[in-house]
């Protein structure tokens, strides 16, 4: 099993009406199979973060379920670091199974040194007299795929060199060598090519549905998609201490076809109720209605609030988001966590980067281009004020732009915070994507992002959770419209 991401309950996948997954059903199936023959049950990373069911307990719920299912080992994926090292340490200490990672050590280059997490490079198991080593290898790009602050003081070593070192150390001591990896399917294949002596790679990270085991040289590679939608099953035949045959399959997890493990179902229900209670918790108060209705046509106070939070969190000079990322309004009075989740339903995270003044102007031209249709690309901004006019053909055109009160300079560089959807070029924000294209100098040093292009990137923390924390810290908010976006000559307003 890999890339569970806390999807404990059955759910409808994007583009489908069919329910799939459900950890209680997967646990029931695994339990039945484990009664048939000696078995190892492995988790190939990204287990504890993703879905609210996991996030709102910072992954504690997932570890409780994994303990109940009796996992034999787990590799840390990048998203295991998303709640920070202190929380990860707590989760590892709660786990009744070994949590592995062979290719991490303390970084001698950073001044602040955390205590190394209680991760083990490998674990030895014995099944019916067959000795098995399970070596944990995670992505060496870790600082790029969680927030770099989450891995401050840690250095992630070469996947291949580390695997080779441990294969050499263990090859003559065991019958089978399994690499439990979180590096993605393609890199699993590359690893198998480079490092001889690995019998099996059980992988994750790329969410790949490997329906039949892949074979590279003598190494078998498997991966079981994502979100507990399938259970990966690999039957291994060992003769005279050597692997002589394998048969693999993925079994669909569908509530309609499987029973539930009662104990696991009970844990799922317990934490689901906690999630419901947390979402009903009052996180603060708004002294005014938060306008999520007009975000596709006008500056609104809700848009300003979210854009301000993005600017503040990322440390950028400005922030630009799409009005379409805000879906509903919130009435004056108490704000519940659920109100924010409903208003900001997307799993967006914050990215910030550098743009020229010219690129900002062109970005805003795109942003207002579908105002008449009420397009979701209409901007909400922070640190910027701008005006637009309607040209003779009745299309909107940007007029004046000011940043921190000063006129925008076309050739000057400015930092801009936004969400990942726009950063990928969504809603026609191609200049954001092109800014990323020119950010070859993106690097991470001592927990901070260095480089002219990207200045902030936190794929492990949803924007809506940051908004909730902001409101919680302020207790009472009253955001207002401030003339950040001004329409100067709409034809119908003459």
């Amino acid at each position: 099993m890999n890339d569970f991401h806390g999807f404990a309950q059955s759910y409808k996948t994007y583009g489908s009406d069919e329910y799939t997954g459900g950890i209680a059903c997967l646990a029931w199936l695994a339990g039945r199979l484990r009664k048939e023959k000696p078995t190892l049950f492995l988790a190939a990373g990204d287990m504890i973060q993703g879905n609210n069911w996991a996030n709102l307990s910072q992954g504690k719920s997932v570890i409780e379920v994994m303990n109940e299912i009796n996992f034999d080992a787990m590799i840390v994926g990048n998203h295991e670091f998303d709640f920070g090292q202190k929380v990860l340490r707590e989760r590892i200490e709660e786990a009744k199974f070994p949590v592995l990672c062979a290719n991490v050590e303390l970084d001698s280059q950073t001044p602040w040194k955390p205590e190394l997490l209680p991760l083990r490079p490998y674990v030895l198991k014995e099944l019916n007299g067959i000795k098995i080593a399970i070596i944990g290898i995670t992505t060496e790009e870790m600082p790029m795929v969680t927030h770099p602050k989450n891995v401050t003081g840690l250095k992630f070593l070469s996947q291949a060199e580390t695997a080779e070192k441990y294969v050499k150390e263990l090859r003559n001591k065991v019958d089978l060598i399994v690499v439990l990896s979180h590096i993605g399917f393609h890199r699993d294949m590359v690893l198998a090519e480079k490092v001889k002596g690995i019998d099996i790679i059980v992988g994750g990270h790329s969410h790949t549905k490997v329906e039949q085991p892949a074979l590279v040289g003598k190494t078998v590679i498997v991966q079981a998609w994502e979100h507990a939608k399938v259970l990966g099953v690999l039957d291994i035949k060992v003769t005279d201490g050597k692997m002589t045959g394998v048969k693999g399959k993925l079994v669909d997890i569908k509530q309609t076809r499987l029973n539930k493990d009662d104990a696991v179902a009970s844990i799922v229900d317990k934490y689901s109720k906690k999630v419901d209670a947390l979402l009903q918790e009052v996180i603060g108060e708004t002294g005014t209605d938060l306008d999520g209705k007009n975000v596709r046509r006008d500056e609104t106070n809700f848009g300003n609030l979210v854009a301000d939070i993005i600017r503040q969190t990322s440390g950028a000079q400005t922030a630009i988001i799409n009005g379409g990322s805000i879906r509903t309004s919130i009435k004056k009075g108490a704000i519940k966590a659920d109100d924010i989740y409903t208003a900001l339903p997307f799993d967006n995270y914050i990215i910030a980067f550098t743009l020229t003044g010219k690129q900002i102007r062109e970005t805003l031209e795109n942003a207002i281009s579908s105002i008449k249709e009420g397009g979701g690309r209409f901007p909400q901004v922070s640190g910027i004020t701008f005006s637009y006019i309607y040209s003779e053909d009745n299309s909107p055109k940007i007029k004046d732009i000011f940043i921190a009160g000063m006129p925008l300079e076309p050739d000057k560089y400015y930092t801009v915070g936004t969400n990942d959807f726009l950063a990928a070029g969504g809603d026609g924000y191609r200049f954001f994507r092109e800014a990323i294209n020119t950010s070859e100098d993106y690097s991470v040093t001592g927990g901070a992002i260095k480089g002219k292009g990207i200045i902030y990137n936190n794929p492990g923390r949803w924007l809506r959770d940051i908004v909730i924390d902001y409101i919680r810290s302020r207790k009472k908010i009253s955001p207002a419209t401030e003339g950040r976006i001004v329409e100067t000559n709409h034809p119908t307003v003459q």
Binding site: G15, T146, F185, H186, H205, H207, T208, W225, E226, A423
Partner: protein, 60 residues
Amino acid sequence: MKVFVNNKEVDIIAGMTVRHALIAADFLKDISSGKKVFDEWGNEIGLDGTVEEGLNIHVR
């Protein structure tokens, strides 16, 4: 980081996923209409899966 979606080249940053590649290439709407995403070896991949430099993704 360059990746390809149905042979269309797009740039995304490290840490971004299949979903971002589809947004960049304007293919995300195809998934809501029932199409699936496959890697260059023919395996179906999830939208939250990682991508790496040069990967060729197919939507069909």
